[in-house]
């Protein structure tokens, strides 16, 4: 068996192990606190993984990823409230809608060759526009937001205990893990990373950067949309600030960067670390509005200065040193 296949097999096994272990948590404990903690950590992971697809693997830094989150969230809420559509169908619609939002922003931005800071700012501008629109338009409930009424049943995507939600978000996280695994060993993934590392060189050897980036932002948007729809089902509420606000965008990108961009487990590591930090600060300072974001901001700056490859990068550096030592 080739080295590539062996490595791939090992990583798949690890993903499977992760999935099984986490899935067993609700079987091992009834504690609401623990289940909630794990569920929210998985949610944070999903956000980071979504951003990582476009930002980490694709090298396109979006500062307005909440755009896709909010689109998914509002579709989930509005489809049920005003369309009478079943929650699971709404979920599919939300994911699709968010992917389309991604394709829209991507088509505009990449067609005109936006990169780097310009792209980051434009995505932020789009998110802000949607936030203001959501505030002003009646069918989103305006500033008051939308509430999805409580009607507990699995068919309605509302679970009595946290377990159901945990398994749902775990499903998305595993799907994102599998996608990331595939990105690291497929032609599409190779092309995506080539565009990230040097777009001109990629073009010279046959890569179509527009199509590749477009596909990446569509996939990234889809996962953000799933996260948004998930949020609505768990909290049964959405408003423009939560949907399109900066905090969701920031959470996604900081976790991905802290964990290690463009890696398989980076987003997981980053999200868990930040989630633990947020929990610790809540225990120390109580519900102080803004304290979480201060921590995220400080961590972001520290990581950028001292550890630009993130936590996963530490592991990579260690492995490189090890390999270098063995072969001289």
């Amino acid at each position: 068996m080739s080295e590539l296949a062996k490595q791939g097999g090992r990583q798949l096994a690890l993903i499977a192990l992760f999935a099984v272990l986490v899935a067993c948590v609700p079987l091992a404990t009834r504690s609401g606190t623990v289940l909630n903690f794990v569920m929210m950590a998985l949610y944070a992971t999903l956000l980071a993984q979504a951003w990582n697809i476009l930002g980490g693997f694709g090298g396109q830094f979006s500062f307005g990823h909440a755009l896709f989150f909010g689109t998914g969230a509002y579709i989930q809420a509005i489809a049920q409230l005003q369309g009478g559509i079943n929650a699971w169908v709404a979920l599919a619609l939300a994911i699709l809608g968010a992917a389309l939002a991604g394709l829209f922003v991507g088509a505009l931005s990449f067609r005109y060759g936006l990169k780097g800071s310009y792209f980051a700012l434009v995505t932020l501008a789009f998110a802000e526009v949607f936030r203001i629109l959501a505030l002003s338009v009646p069918f989103t409930g305006g500033g008051v937001g939308l509430m999805v009424p409580l009607r507990e049943s699995a068919a309605n995507l509302q679970f009595g205990s946290r377990s159901g939600y945990l398994w749902l978000v775990l499903g998305f996280v595993v799907a994102a893990l599998l996608l990331s695994w595939w990105l690291r060993r497929s032609r599409f993934g190779a092309y995506l990373q080539a565009v990230r590392d040097n777009e001109d060189a990629a073009r010279a050897v046959g890569v179509n950067p527009f199509r590749i980036k477009l596909a990446a932002i569509g996939l990234s948007g889809a996962f953000m949309g799933a996260a948004g729809a998930f949020y609505v089902q768990v909290f049964q509420y959405i408003d423009p600030g939560i949907a399109y606000g900066a905090s969701t965008s920031v959470e996604a990108l900081v976790a991905a960067i802290v964990g290690g961009m463009g890696t398989l487990w980076g987003p997981v590591l980053g999200a868990v670390v930040l989630h633990v930090l947020a929990d610790l600060t809540r225990n120390l300072f109580g519900e102080l509005p803004g304290i979480n974001m201060v921590i995220y901001g400080v961590v972001l700056v520290l990581i950028v200065i001292f550890l630009p490859r993130g936590i996963a990068g530490l592991g990579l550096s260690a492995r490189e040193l090890w390999k270098g030592g063995r072969h001289g």
């Binding site: 497929s186 073009r203 046959g206």
Partner: protein, 255 residues
């Protein structure tokens, strides 16, 4: 005679007021190793960009493998069989040598394992085999030039545009690289290289074009072109050819 693989007709391109390339026409025959030379700033790299689609010409046409490809995107031209390298190398710094070359290989190969295997073959061809698992950022200048070459080679091009692949190399590295370029041409790939290293041009090129201030001023065999007065003047300045002649004549008289 068979249609030339690459044909430029009246290619011109300006930037603001600067005429970078003016009315250049040339035909690259299939299967040969040719060179494009000229003093710095002559517009050689711009011409490569115009050929491969990184720049659109203001006027003129580019025909490749029987098709009009004027202004087509570089990736489409790569699919047709035209690949270029860059004067200032552009490695995928975060990736290994193997992964770098594999990106090129993927043009014709979908499977990852296959692409990586092909990358290994190409690396052996250009002499990069011992560095396959090193990150590209660890390579020396010579290594990066080889990588640039290997990645382009992996796309199985019909026409390979090499932009100063020998620049920045020391004499030993040049001596090692030249046979590699020759072997590429021998394998059937048409090679057009921009070069300043004259020994390479003299030894390798079968046909040479000379570009100066955006215009084609001479073409022919390496010997013909280097003894052309216009070419000497372009490199060494106006009136130099006449001065050299006089100096030579004076020496002959003295003898």
């Amino acid at each position: 005679m068979a249609e030339p693989l690459l044909q430029l007709s009246g290619i011109s391109r300006s930037f603001g007021g600067l005429k970078a390339v003016q009315d250049v026409s040339l035909a690259v025959p299939e299967g040969r190793l040719c060179a494009l030379i000229g003093p710095n700033g002559a517009g050689k790299t711009t011409l490569f960009a115009l050929m491969s689609g990184f720049l659109r010409p203001d006027s003129g046409t580019v025909r490749f493998a029987g098709q009009d490809i004027t202004g087509r995107e570089p990736h489409r031209n790569a699919l047709l069989g035209m690949t270029r390298t860059f004067q200032i190398v552009k490695p995928f710094a975060a990736q290994t040598v193997r992964e770098n070359i594999a990106v090129g290989a993927h043009l014709h190969v979908r499977g990852r394992a296959q692409a990586l295997a092909q990358a290994e073959h190409v690396a052996q061809w250009v002499g990069l085999a011992p560095q396959l698992d090193k990150p590209a950022s660890d390579l020396t200048v010579a290594g990066r030039k080889r990588l640039e070459l290997a990645r382009a080679l992996a796309t199985r091009p019909r026409l390979l545009l090499l932009d100063e692949v020998l620049a920045g190399l020391n004499p030993q590295e040049i001596a090692e690289m030249m046979p590699v370029v020759r072997s590429i041409a021998d394998s059937g790939v048409t090679v057009l290289m921009i070069e300043h290293v004259m020994q390479a041009v003299m030894h390798l090129a079968e046909h040479v074009w000379v570009l100066a201030q955006g215009r084609l001023i001479a073409e022919g065999s390496p010997a013909q072109v280097t003894s052309d007065e216009k070419v000497v003047e372009a490199y060494l300045g106006h009136g130099t050819a006449a001065r050299l002649r006089k100096a030579n004549a004076a020496v002959e008289v003295a003898l």
